[in-house]
């Protein structure tokens, strides 16, 4: 068991708890640890810390532990936990908020998942719409499995389900780029992936 420096993590933990309240209307303080969220979580089998324990970490203010856990990354955002929680704690929103916090701190715990979503957002920022061929190619190259799912491609192209050309309109593209620009100015912390351009084909 690691030793925990409570004083140093408390301030961070309080900030994130406040953030969860304002942004997500989610209050970890209401949790009474019944475990119902974990019981119904479809991904709990693969998690290092089941959802109710993640909530408890947030309750106790154990910031580093929250940032280190893989569970927030594996959460599939199915919202089963939130639908069933008897205390309206909204665990799914807390998982999401903690994952974003970890990402902003550079603590990416499940790389392929982060790459996938980052590629996706890069395409949105660049074209205004997502073009699945570019998404899959970009993702496969980044995770070093260029032929992953490639067996599906011929049939999909034949069925016109995987277009070889991007589809978008110039107005959609321009306006979405503008949204990203304003967002970057507003948040003052541009993610590297939210600048237009990038290495996506």
């Amino acid at each position: 068991m690691n030793t925990v420096n409570i004083t140093s993590t408390l301030a961070e933990a309080q900030r994130i708890r406040q953030d969860l309240k304002t942004k997500y209307d989610a209050d970890v303080g209401k949790c009474y640890q019944c475990g119902k969220c974990s019981a119904g979580c479809p991904v709990a089998f693969a998690m290092d810390t089941p959802p109710h324990k993640v909530i408890q970490l947030a309750k106790l203010g154990l910031y580093d532990e929250m940032m280190e856990c893989h569970s927030t990354w594996l959460c599939a955002t199915c919202h089963t936990c939130s639908a069933r929680c008897p205390r309206e704690v909204h665990p799914s929103r807390i998982m999401e908020g903690l994952r974003i916090e970890a990402r902003n701190q550079g603590s990416v715990k499940v790389r392929p998942l982060d790459i996938f979503h980052t590629k996706f957002m890069k395409l949105v920022g660049k074209r205004g719409r997502v073009y699945e061929m570019a998404l899959m190619l970009g993702y496969n190259l980044s995770v070093g499995r260029p032929l992953k799912d490639a067996g599906f491609a011929p049939k999909m192209i034949l069925n016109k389900k995987l277009s070889l050309f991007p589809h978008t309109t110039s107005k959609a593209r321009k306006e979405v780029r503008k949204i990203h620009e304003r967002y970057n100015r507003m948040s003052n912390t541009p993610h590297p992936d939210q600048t237009s351009g990038g290495d996506t084909p």
């Binding site: 479809p42 089998f45 955002t77 639908a83 979503h117 599906f152």
Partner: protein
């Protein structure tokens, strides 16, 4: 009723058959879908994992475009629907968030016109209207209705009849003359993008759903989301191989089943675009052939019409010249 149709990115690619079947069925039920000009991506399941506010602004732009036209958005994809409803909910419940969103999208957005799922729109059009237009009831087809997560949750803004056991798709299935089965995994998660991005975790989730659908005795699965269909259809062959016994559960969009019952050509419904082909099942159940309908004043006695009231129904399909499957 007129709507601004928001197809979303998937429906031009992997969800193509959802797009074409929706557009083929809607006019037959008196629903007018005009594609929203210059729509953009809603951020799907990715944006909200990177930033809360940006993830609300992206779908809000589309709803604001609809609002400018005085129209509600009609959305087939469950993920697009969920993100759009999240934006609508945020704007309605927080002045502060509304101001942030409006300044990001540089447009006013008051959420005056509720965003709607195509499923809700078809139900609102009335099951009676649907039943009146049915030419070929889907008799003998056992269907497992799969809602997945996003038609049922989050419960604070998805007005669903019952989040644990929803009935909307089932009522449509029953209205079409098919038999909805009762089963346990209607609203279990198919893994979202995990089956693509992290198959070690996504695979078992899809597997559980397929096994439960199989156990329920269903011939097929029907859903209302291109991501769910992609996961359940594309991964089926590999998962069958892995367990040593193939699955054979064609997965439909509910609009495809509607189109079949409304006597549309299989080609108009994209029935040949699936990885697990539904064609053998549909031929076995004798549901593939189109019913030829002659004008009533000719010899009605010769017309092979399955349901008595259908005799009076003029064919709703403009290209009903050839008959037979395409």
């Amino acid at each position: 009723m007129k709507y601004a149709y928001y197809p979303g990115c998937s429906l031009s690619g992997t969800g193509l058959e959802y797009n074409i079947s929706t557009q083929a069925v809607a006019p037959l039920l008196g629903i007018e879908l005009c594609e929203l000009p210059d729509w953009s991506c809603c951020g799907a399941s990715s944006a909200h994992l990177q930033d809360h506010t940006l993830a609300l602004a992206l779908p809000a732009r589309n709803a604001a475009l609809g609002e400018e036209q005085g129209l509600s958005l009609a959305i087939p994809c469950a993920a697009c629907l969920s993100r759009s409803k999240a934006a609508e909910h945020a704007v309605k419940t927080s002045e502060d968030m509304r101001a942030q969103i409006e300044s990001l999208i540089d447009r006013p957005y008051q959420a005056t016109y509720p965003v709607k799922s195509i499923l809700e729109i078809f139900i609102d059009a009335g099951l009676d209207t649907l039943k009146e237009n049915i030419i070929k009831p889907l008799t003998g087809l056992k269907v497992a209705s799969y809602y997945g997560c996003l038609q049922a949750r989050p419960t604070d803004f998805m007005d669903v009849d019952d989040p644990e056991n929803p009935q909307t798709i089932d009522t449509i299935v029953a209205a079409l003359g098919a038999e909805p089965v009762s089963w346990s995994h209607k609203t279990e998660c198919c893994g979202n993008s995990h089956p693509i991005a992290y198959p070690e975790v996504g695979g078992p989730l899809v597997n559980r759903i397929l096994e439960q659908a199989e156990k329920s005795g269903a011939d097929c699965i029907v859903c209302a989301c291109p991501m769910c269909l992609g996961n359940l259809d594309m991964r089926q062959k590999a998962l069958g191989k892995k367990r040593g016994r193939p699955f054979n559960l064609p997965v439909f969009y509910f609009t495809q089943l509607m189109g079949l019952a409304l006597n549309l050509r299989p080609k108009k419904l994209g029935l040949k675009k699936h990885f697990i082909s539904p064609i053998p099942l549909l031929s076995k159940k004798d549901l593939l052939k189109r019913i030829k309908i002659k004008k009533v004043k000719n010899k009605p006695a010769d017309t092979p019409v399955p349901a008595s009231e259908s005799t009076e129904t003029p064919t709703p399909n403009p290209d009903n010249k050839k008959g037979g499957p395409a």
